[in-house]
Protein backbone atom coordinates (compact mmCIF):
# COMPACT_ATOMS: atom_id res chain seq x y z
CA UNK A 1 0.00 0.00 0.00
CA UNK A 2 1.18 3.47 -0.84
CA UNK A 3 1.34 5.65 2.25
CA UNK A 4 2.55 8.82 0.54
CA UNK A 5 -0.88 10.45 0.84
CA UNK A 6 -0.73 9.96 4.59
CA UNK A 7 2.83 11.27 4.98
CA UNK A 8 1.87 14.47 3.20
CA UNK A 9 -0.39 15.36 6.12
CA UNK A 10 2.76 15.62 8.22
CA UNK A 11 3.67 18.69 6.18
CA UNK A 12 2.24 21.83 7.88
CA UNK A 13 1.44 23.78 4.66
CA UNK A 14 -0.31 20.77 3.14
CA UNK A 15 -2.26 20.10 6.33
CA UNK A 16 -3.18 23.78 6.64
CA UNK A 17 -4.50 23.94 3.07
CA UNK A 18 -6.39 20.62 3.06
CA UNK A 19 -7.89 21.11 6.53
CA UNK A 20 -9.08 24.55 5.50
CA UNK A 21 -10.90 23.07 2.53
CA UNK A 22 -12.47 20.27 4.58
CA UNK A 23 -13.87 22.46 7.40
CA UNK A 24 -16.98 23.83 5.57
CA UNK A 25 -17.91 20.29 4.47
CA UNK A 26 -17.99 19.28 8.13
CA UNK A 27 -19.46 22.46 9.59
CA UNK A 28 -22.62 22.68 7.46
CA UNK A 29 -23.70 19.05 7.91
CA UNK A 30 -22.95 19.47 11.65
CA UNK A 31 -25.31 22.43 11.93
CA UNK A 32 -28.08 20.73 9.95
CA UNK A 33 -27.78 17.44 11.85
CA UNK A 34 -27.78 19.13 15.27
CA UNK A 35 -30.81 21.30 14.44
CA UNK A 36 -32.74 18.38 12.90
CA UNK A 37 -31.81 15.99 15.72
CA UNK A 38 -32.66 18.40 18.54
CA UNK A 39 -35.96 19.32 16.85
CA UNK A 40 -36.78 15.64 16.45
CA UNK A 41 -35.78 14.84 20.02
CA UNK A 42 -37.05 17.82 21.98
CA UNK A 43 -40.17 18.67 19.97
CA UNK A 44 -41.34 15.64 17.99
CA UNK A 45 -40.25 12.52 19.90
CA UNK A 46 -42.76 11.08 22.37
CA UNK A 47 -42.07 11.46 26.11
CA UNK A 48 -40.52 8.45 27.84
CA UNK A 49 -43.06 6.04 29.38
CA UNK A 50 -41.34 6.21 32.77
CA UNK A 51 -39.39 9.47 32.81
CA UNK A 52 -41.79 11.57 30.75
CA UNK A 53 -40.21 14.74 29.32
CA UNK A 54 -37.15 14.55 31.59
CA UNK A 55 -35.81 11.89 29.20
CA UNK A 56 -35.33 14.61 26.58
CA UNK A 57 -32.04 15.45 28.34
CA UNK A 58 -30.84 12.26 26.62
CA UNK A 59 -30.65 14.07 23.26
CA UNK A 60 -27.76 16.21 24.49
CA UNK A 61 -26.36 14.01 27.28
CA UNK A 62 -25.69 10.85 25.26
CA UNK A 63 -24.14 12.58 22.19
CA UNK A 64 -21.94 14.70 24.50
CA UNK A 65 -20.75 11.56 26.29
CA UNK A 66 -20.04 9.79 23.00
CA UNK A 67 -18.13 12.73 21.49
CA UNK A 68 -16.23 13.32 24.75
CA UNK A 69 -14.92 9.75 24.58
CA UNK A 70 -14.27 9.99 20.85
CA UNK A 71 -12.33 13.26 21.34
CA UNK A 72 -10.11 11.60 23.90
CA UNK A 73 -9.47 8.63 21.62
CA UNK A 74 -8.55 10.90 18.68
CA UNK A 75 -6.37 13.02 20.98
CA UNK A 76 -4.52 10.03 22.47
CA UNK A 77 -3.93 8.30 19.11
CA UNK A 78 -2.75 11.54 17.50
CA UNK A 79 -0.48 12.34 20.45
CA UNK A 80 0.98 8.82 20.38
CA UNK A 81 1.67 9.05 16.62
CA UNK A 82 3.27 12.45 17.20
CA UNK A 83 5.41 10.98 19.98
CA UNK A 84 6.62 7.98 17.95
CA UNK A 85 7.15 9.62 14.55
CA UNK A 86 7.83 13.15 15.84
CA UNK A 87 5.15 14.76 13.70
CA UNK A 88 4.30 18.24 14.92
CA UNK A 89 1.04 18.28 12.97
CA UNK A 90 -0.12 15.31 15.08
CA UNK A 91 0.72 17.18 18.28
CA UNK A 92 -1.21 20.19 16.96
CA UNK A 93 -4.22 17.95 16.28
CA UNK A 94 -3.99 16.40 19.75
CA UNK A 95 -3.75 19.83 21.38
CA UNK A 96 -6.77 20.96 19.36
CA UNK A 97 -8.87 18.01 20.59
CA UNK A 98 -8.44 18.70 24.31
CA UNK A 99 -10.57 21.82 24.93
CA UNK A 100 -13.43 20.55 22.73
CA UNK A 101 -13.33 17.13 24.34
CA UNK A 102 -13.25 18.73 27.79
CA UNK A 103 -16.29 20.84 26.84
CA UNK A 104 -18.30 17.81 25.73
CA UNK A 105 -17.27 15.85 28.81
CA UNK A 106 -18.32 18.76 31.04
CA UNK A 107 -21.64 19.01 29.16
CA UNK A 108 -22.14 15.28 29.69
CA UNK A 109 -21.45 15.54 33.43
CA UNK A 110 -23.58 18.64 34.02
CA UNK A 111 -26.55 17.43 31.93
CA UNK A 112 -26.17 14.12 33.75
CA UNK A 113 -26.50 15.94 37.07
CA UNK A 114 -29.56 17.80 35.77
CA UNK A 115 -31.02 14.42 34.80
CA UNK A 116 -29.91 12.64 37.99
CA UNK A 117 -31.52 15.08 40.39
CA UNK A 118 -35.14 14.50 39.25
CA UNK A 119 -34.70 10.77 38.43
CA UNK A 120 -32.32 9.47 41.10
CA UNK A 121 -32.97 12.16 43.68
CA UNK A 122 -29.30 13.19 43.74
CA UNK A 123 -27.15 15.55 41.69
CA UNK A 124 -24.18 13.26 42.06
CA UNK A 125 -23.55 9.68 43.17
CA UNK A 126 -20.16 7.99 43.46
CA UNK A 127 -21.01 5.54 40.73
CA UNK A 128 -18.41 3.85 38.45
CA UNK A 129 -19.81 5.45 35.28
CA UNK A 130 -19.93 8.92 36.79
CA UNK A 131 -16.52 8.70 38.43
CA UNK A 132 -14.79 7.32 35.31
CA UNK A 133 -16.34 10.16 33.26
CA UNK A 134 -15.07 12.68 35.84
CA UNK A 135 -11.61 11.09 35.52
CA UNK A 136 -11.87 11.63 31.74
CA UNK A 137 -12.48 15.35 32.36
CA UNK A 138 -9.44 15.44 34.69
CA UNK A 139 -7.27 13.82 31.98
CA UNK A 140 -8.33 16.53 29.51
CA UNK A 141 -7.66 19.28 32.07
CA UNK A 142 -4.36 17.66 33.09
CA UNK A 143 -3.29 17.42 29.44
CA UNK A 144 -4.07 21.11 28.84
CA UNK A 145 -2.47 22.15 32.13
CA UNK A 146 0.71 20.21 31.38
CA UNK A 147 1.00 21.76 27.91
CA UNK A 148 0.40 25.21 29.37
CA UNK A 149 3.01 24.72 32.10
CA UNK A 150 5.93 23.84 29.77
CA UNK A 151 7.28 26.73 27.69
CA UNK A 152 9.39 24.65 25.30
CA UNK A 153 6.95 23.43 22.61
CA UNK A 154 8.70 20.13 21.88
CA UNK A 155 9.00 19.20 25.55
CA UNK A 156 5.36 20.15 26.07
CA UNK A 157 4.41 17.94 23.10
CA UNK A 158 6.29 14.93 24.42
CA UNK A 159 5.22 15.22 28.07
CA UNK A 160 1.55 15.82 27.24
CA UNK A 161 1.57 13.00 24.67
CA UNK A 162 2.75 10.56 27.33
CA UNK A 163 -0.07 11.70 29.63
CA UNK A 164 -2.65 11.42 26.83
CA UNK A 165 -1.45 7.94 25.86
CA UNK A 166 -1.56 6.65 29.44
CA UNK A 167 -5.05 8.09 29.91
CA UNK A 168 -6.50 6.06 27.01
CA UNK A 169 -6.87 3.21 29.52
CA UNK A 170 -9.79 5.17 30.99
CA UNK A 171 -11.83 5.09 27.75
CA UNK A 172 -12.76 1.38 27.87
CA UNK A 173 -13.26 1.74 31.63
CA UNK A 174 -15.94 4.39 31.00
CA UNK A 175 -17.55 2.25 28.32
CA UNK A 176 -17.65 -1.00 30.33
CA UNK A 177 -18.23 0.59 33.75
CA UNK A 178 -21.95 -0.19 33.55
CA UNK A 179 -21.17 -3.82 32.68
CA UNK A 180 -18.31 -4.57 35.06
CA UNK A 181 -19.80 -3.02 38.16
CA UNK A 182 -23.21 -2.60 39.69
CA UNK A 183 -24.14 0.84 38.48
CA UNK A 184 -27.06 3.15 39.07
CA UNK A 185 -26.46 4.45 35.57
CA UNK A 186 -28.39 2.60 32.88
CA UNK A 187 -26.57 0.38 30.42
CA UNK A 188 -26.23 0.73 26.67
CA UNK A 189 -29.65 1.42 25.15
CA UNK A 190 -28.76 2.30 21.56
CA UNK A 191 -26.12 -0.14 20.30
CA UNK A 192 -26.97 -3.39 22.00
CA UNK A 193 -28.03 -6.93 21.24
CA UNK A 194 -31.60 -6.92 19.94
CA UNK A 195 -31.48 -3.35 18.64
CA UNK A 196 -32.19 -0.02 20.35
CA UNK A 197 -34.31 -0.13 23.52
CA UNK A 198 -36.50 2.65 22.14
CA UNK A 199 -38.69 3.34 19.11
CA UNK A 200 -37.32 4.93 15.92
CA UNK A 201 -39.01 8.24 16.83
CA UNK A 202 -36.53 8.42 19.71
CA UNK A 203 -33.37 6.79 18.43
CA UNK A 204 -33.32 8.48 15.01
CA UNK A 205 -33.06 12.03 16.49
CA UNK A 206 -30.50 10.72 18.98
CA UNK A 207 -28.35 9.31 16.18
CA UNK A 208 -28.69 12.58 14.21
CA UNK A 209 -27.35 14.59 17.17
CA UNK A 210 -24.51 12.08 17.67
CA UNK A 211 -23.45 12.50 14.03
CA UNK A 212 -23.98 16.27 14.28
CA UNK A 213 -21.71 16.57 17.35
CA UNK A 214 -19.14 14.31 15.65
CA UNK A 215 -19.02 16.52 12.53
CA UNK A 216 -18.94 19.60 14.78
CA UNK A 217 -16.00 18.18 16.72
CA UNK A 218 -13.93 17.52 13.60
CA UNK A 219 -14.77 20.95 12.14
CA UNK A 220 -13.81 22.93 15.26
CA UNK A 221 -10.82 20.67 15.92
CA UNK A 222 -9.44 21.29 12.42
CA UNK A 223 -9.89 25.07 12.81
CA UNK A 224 -7.98 24.92 16.11
CA UNK A 225 -5.30 22.64 14.65
CA UNK A 226 -4.78 25.01 11.72
CA UNK A 227 -4.35 27.94 14.11
CA UNK A 228 -1.89 25.88 16.15
CA UNK A 229 0.13 24.86 13.07
CA UNK A 230 0.25 28.50 11.97
CA UNK A 231 1.32 29.63 15.46
CA UNK A 232 4.17 27.12 15.57
CA UNK A 233 5.44 27.88 12.09
CA UNK A 234 4.99 31.66 12.28
CA UNK A 235 8.63 32.15 11.22
CA UNK A 236 8.37 29.67 8.33
CA UNK A 237 8.58 30.55 4.67
CA UNK A 238 5.23 28.93 3.81
CA UNK A 239 3.46 31.17 6.35
CA UNK A 240 5.07 34.21 4.77
CA UNK A 241 3.96 33.09 1.31
CA UNK A 242 0.48 32.37 2.59
CA UNK A 243 -0.03 35.68 4.37
CA UNK A 244 1.64 37.90 1.80
CA UNK A 245 -0.12 36.28 -1.17
CA UNK A 246 -2.40 38.61 -3.16
CA UNK A 247 -5.42 36.56 -2.17
CA UNK A 248 -5.59 36.64 1.61
CA UNK A 249 -6.84 33.60 3.57
CA UNK A 250 -9.88 33.98 5.76
Amino acid sequence: MNWVWFHRFGSPPYFYAVAGRIVPWLAWPAGLLIVAGLYGGVVMAPPDYQQSDAARIMYVHVPAAYVGLMSYTVMAISAAIGLVWRLKVCHAVAAACAPIGASFTAVCLITGMLWGQPMWGAWWVWDPRLVSMLVLLFFFIGYMGLRGAIDDVQRADRASAVLASVGIINVPIVHYSVVWWNSLHQGASLIRKGGPAMPASMWVPLVLVIFGFTFYFYAVMLVRARAEVLRRDRGGSWVRELLTAPEQPK
Binding site: D53, V60, H61, I100, A227, R234
Partner: protein
Protein backbone atom coordinates in the same frame (compact mmCIF):
# COMPACT_ATOMS: atom_id res chain seq x y z
CA UNK B 1 -46.79 26.17 23.61
CA UNK B 2 -46.69 26.71 27.38
CA UNK B 3 -47.45 22.99 27.69
CA UNK B 4 -44.33 22.32 25.61
CA UNK B 5 -42.18 24.73 27.64
CA UNK B 6 -43.47 23.18 30.88
CA UNK B 7 -41.92 19.78 29.96
CA UNK B 8 -44.36 18.02 32.32
CA UNK B 9 -42.72 19.76 35.26
CA UNK B 10 -39.11 19.05 34.24
CA UNK B 11 -38.54 22.42 32.55
CA UNK B 12 -35.94 23.43 35.18
CA UNK B 13 -33.83 20.40 34.18
CA UNK B 14 -34.47 20.02 30.45
CA UNK B 15 -34.01 23.63 29.28
CA UNK B 16 -30.79 24.37 31.20
CA UNK B 17 -29.33 21.13 29.77
CA UNK B 18 -30.08 22.15 26.20
CA UNK B 19 -29.13 25.79 26.80
CA UNK B 20 -25.78 24.89 28.33
CA UNK B 21 -24.99 22.51 25.47
CA UNK B 22 -25.77 25.09 22.78
CA UNK B 23 -23.87 27.80 24.68
CA UNK B 24 -20.74 25.63 24.81
CA UNK B 25 -21.07 24.75 21.11
CA UNK B 26 -21.19 28.46 20.22
CA UNK B 27 -18.37 29.29 22.65
CA UNK B 28 -16.05 26.69 21.09
CA UNK B 29 -16.68 28.07 17.58
CA UNK B 30 -15.89 31.65 18.70
CA UNK B 31 -12.81 30.47 20.61
CA UNK B 32 -11.43 28.57 17.60
CA UNK B 33 -12.01 31.59 15.33
CA UNK B 34 -10.25 33.87 17.81
CA UNK B 35 -7.24 31.51 17.89
CA UNK B 36 -7.06 31.64 14.09
CA UNK B 37 -7.18 35.44 14.08
CA UNK B 38 -4.53 35.64 16.83
CA UNK B 39 -2.21 33.22 15.01
CA UNK B 40 -2.53 35.13 11.74
CA UNK B 41 -2.00 38.50 13.43
CA UNK B 42 1.08 37.19 15.25
CA UNK B 43 2.54 35.78 12.03
CA UNK B 44 1.87 39.08 10.20
CA UNK B 45 3.60 41.05 12.98
CA UNK B 46 6.60 38.77 12.65
CA UNK B 47 6.72 39.15 8.86
CA UNK B 48 6.44 42.94 9.22
CA UNK B 49 9.28 43.10 11.75
CA UNK B 50 11.46 40.87 9.56
CA UNK B 51 10.79 43.09 6.56
CA UNK B 52 11.55 46.23 8.57
CA UNK B 53 14.96 45.01 9.72
Amino acid sequence: MSQFLYMSGYAAYVWPSIGLTLALLVFNILWARQLTRDAQAEARRRIASEDAS
